[in-house]
């Protein structure tokens, strides 16, 4: 009781002064999280950049070799193919996820019976471990017993089985489809949360002014949803760009490297092939792309503040 009284101010002991000091206390409270993150996140990030400049292999520390790894990658056709694949995979999957996710969010935002039930059901693909659902897709895409081929054949749409994962073009489309399947729920549910914050009165006012359905969407929903779209899609792009699991399960980068992403190539060269330095260099090459995505997210947040009437 006496400690907090204002009138009496005897010199407090060092311990109690520490307990009152925001900085000392803040440091103490931050310590566990900061220690874990510095040791297992910041340090490895730096170590990864360093490894990219060495010829480290599994079981051998390696020495500094400058930018030799990058020079090698620069002239490596497979690396450039993986960059192309990653961009193709990220861009097409993100666009599909956005369009379908937004559509689903708009549907779920209607007055539906069993609304919360549908919302719960729809999120399932995102909850289940990716590897396990990818295994289910592997079976769905089986070259001999694919249920999709069978169903399409029964409907008379195709006359022979589709080689989903054996043909480069098909394999790309198949992994993108599986990624979109898993990504739609995340986009839909986060956008739905954004949609629910838009006041109904705005729609009523616009309707009274004679706005059509498209105009309602274009001039009320979309502008108000833009900030959350920016953030959701940044996350979605980030996760898609660094995807590893789906490709590793479905194709391991095949056929003839047609589906190799930078992450899977990095694993193949660095861990399976034992060339840690080269694998790390591939991983480091992903960083510029990620930075671009993060900057995009940053400006998305800024815009949100500005829209809410706050200063910059």
């Amino acid at each position: 009781m006496a400690v907090s009284s204002i009138a009496v101010q005897p010199r407090p002991s060092i311990l109690s002064r520490l307990a009152e000091s925001r900085n000392a206390l803040g440091f103490g409270f931050m310590l566990p999280a900061a220690a874990l993150l510095l040791v297992f996140l910041t340090y490895p990030l730096g170590l990864g950049v360093w490894l990219g400049f060495t010829d480290a292999r599994i079981g051998r520390p390696g020495i500094f070799i400058g930018i030799e790894n990058y020079e090698y990658l620069w002239s490596d056709a497979v690396f450039w193919l993986s960059v192309f694949n990653t961009l193709l995979y990220t861009i097409s999957a993100s666009i599909l996820k956005f369009v379908l996710g937004l559509w689903l969010a708009l549907i779920l935002n209607q007055n539906l019976p069993f609304k919360s039930f549908f919302r719960a059901i729809v999120l399932l693909p995102w909850v289940v471990p990716t590897v396990l659902s990818a295994i289910a897709f592997w079976w769905i895409y089986d070259s001999q017993f694919s249920i999709l081929s069978w169903a399409l054949q029964q409907m008379g749409l195709i006359d022979h089985r589709i080689n989903f994962l054996g043909d480069p073009e098909n394999a790309r489309a198949s992994v993108i489809a599986a990624n979109v399947w898993r990504g739609i729920p995340f986009v839909a549910i986060t956008l739905l949360a954004g949609l629910q914050t838009i006041p109904q009165s705005l729609y009523e006012a616009a309707t009274l002014d004679g706005a059509s359905r498209w105009q309602l969407f274009r001039f009320v929903t979309l502008p108000l949803l833009t900030p959350i779209i920016a953030i959701t899609m940044t996350f979605s792009v980030l996760f898609t760009f660094t995807d590893f699991q789906l490709i590793y399960v479905l194709t391991r980068g095949g056929p003839v490297n047609a589906t190799h992403l930078m992450a899977t190539l990095s694993f193949q060269r660095g861990i399976s092939g034992g060339q840690l330095g080269e694998g790390a260099a591939i991983a480091v090459a992903m960083i510029p792309f990620l930075l671009a995505a993060i900057l995009f997210s940053y400006f998305g947040l800024q815009r949100r503040k500005w829209q809410q009437g706050g200063g910059d």
């Binding site: 907090s4 996140l41 289910a136 705005l202 959701t232 590793y248 995505a293």
Partner: protein
């Protein structure tokens, strides 16, 4: 003129007030697409389940049996999985690792979030931003240097390799989420407690934490699911069969030769998904709020 009027009228009424839509139109614009979405999103689970209980004979015979159904359901795949493979061990490993990593991350995150949000030490804002940036660092660029570290620390092929590395993506997430929750607790409560002579520790344990139980549940559930689903670290840091987690074990141990045992694989995927799905079904609201909360903040 009359025709145009009749066409425009219903449009005027719909928009903001969807409940005035005519039923046929609602069926086409809402129920039909929703049905297609639900079928596409759920089909892989149906296919997983039906394959897991299908005898091998029916599984490959599409001429005599309709593949969408099972005539003589069997438990042979599940029995094989549970009694003739290391699957139960993987389940146990995954439970232990996920629980430990979640607990560790929550503990560290509660302190960190409280310090950033309420102690407001100098530089708290910058630390908060750093935490957010840490959330954006993907495991795909960390696994190679981490594998070197894990090996040098002598953690390779032990559960501790995963328990200590999972917090790298759990702590930023949980801290960010809890910061939002702590922000919603009125300052006045803490001021009252301070005037009554409570220490910071007492304020945290007796006032802030009891009020943020929903936030703690959300963060805990989500962190548990994330660790359960983690793959790339578990694949890289674990070698021996008996220390593997479910996702890695199913993929690397059940796929052995050219003849895939699809029944056992699907049973493995199904049982491996069940714990998170059950957890999810109990805490849907918390789950959704943590997912959207992390994005909204």
């Amino acid at each position: 003129m009359a025709v145009i009027k009749r066409e425009k009228r219903p449009e005027l009424d719909e928009g903001g007030m969807g409940y005035l839509q005519s039923l046929p139109r609602r069926v086409v614009t809402v129920y039909l697409p929703l049905l297609v979405f639900v079928i596409v999103l759920l089909f892989p689970f149906y296919w997983m389940t039906i394959t897991a209980v299908k005898p091998n004979l029916e599984m490959t015979d599409y001429v005599n049996f309709n593949p969408f159904w099972v005539v003589h359901p069997t438990l042979q795949h599940i029995r094989y999985l549970l009694f003739e493979t290391s699957y139960p061990g993987w389940l146990l490993n995954t439970i232990i690792i996920s629980t430990a990593a979640t607990f560790l991350s929550l503990l560290a995150s509660v302190f960190a979030a409280y310090a950033i949000e309420r102690l407001r030490f100098s530089g708290a804002r910058q630390v908060g931003l750093a935490i957010f940036l840490a959330y954006l660092v993907p495991p795909s660029i960390l696994f190679i240097p981490l594998s070197v570290m894990v090996f040098n620390l002598g953690l390779y092929d032990t559960p501790f390799a995963l328990i200590l590395t999972y917090p790298t993506f759990l702590i930023p997430f949980c801290t960010w989420l809890l910061m939002g929750y702590f922000r919603s607790i009125p300052f006045e409560l803490e001021e009252c407690a301070l005037i009554d002579g409570a220490s910071r520790w007492q304020i945290l344990t007796k006032i802030v934490l009891p009020l943020s139980v929903p936030g703690l549940i959300s963060a805990g559930i989500f962190a548990f699911t994330l660790s359960w689903n983690e793959f790339i670290y578990a694949l890289t840091f674990i070698q021996s069969s008996e220390t593997k987690t479910v996702p890695v074990g199913v993929l690397t141990e059940l796929v052995r030769s050219d003849v895939y045992e699809w029944g056992a694989l699907m049973a493995g995927a199904l049982i491996g998904s069940l714990p998170v799905v059950v957890l999810y079904s109990f805490f849907v609201e918390h789950y959704v709020s943590s997912m959207t909360g992390a994005v909204k903040e």
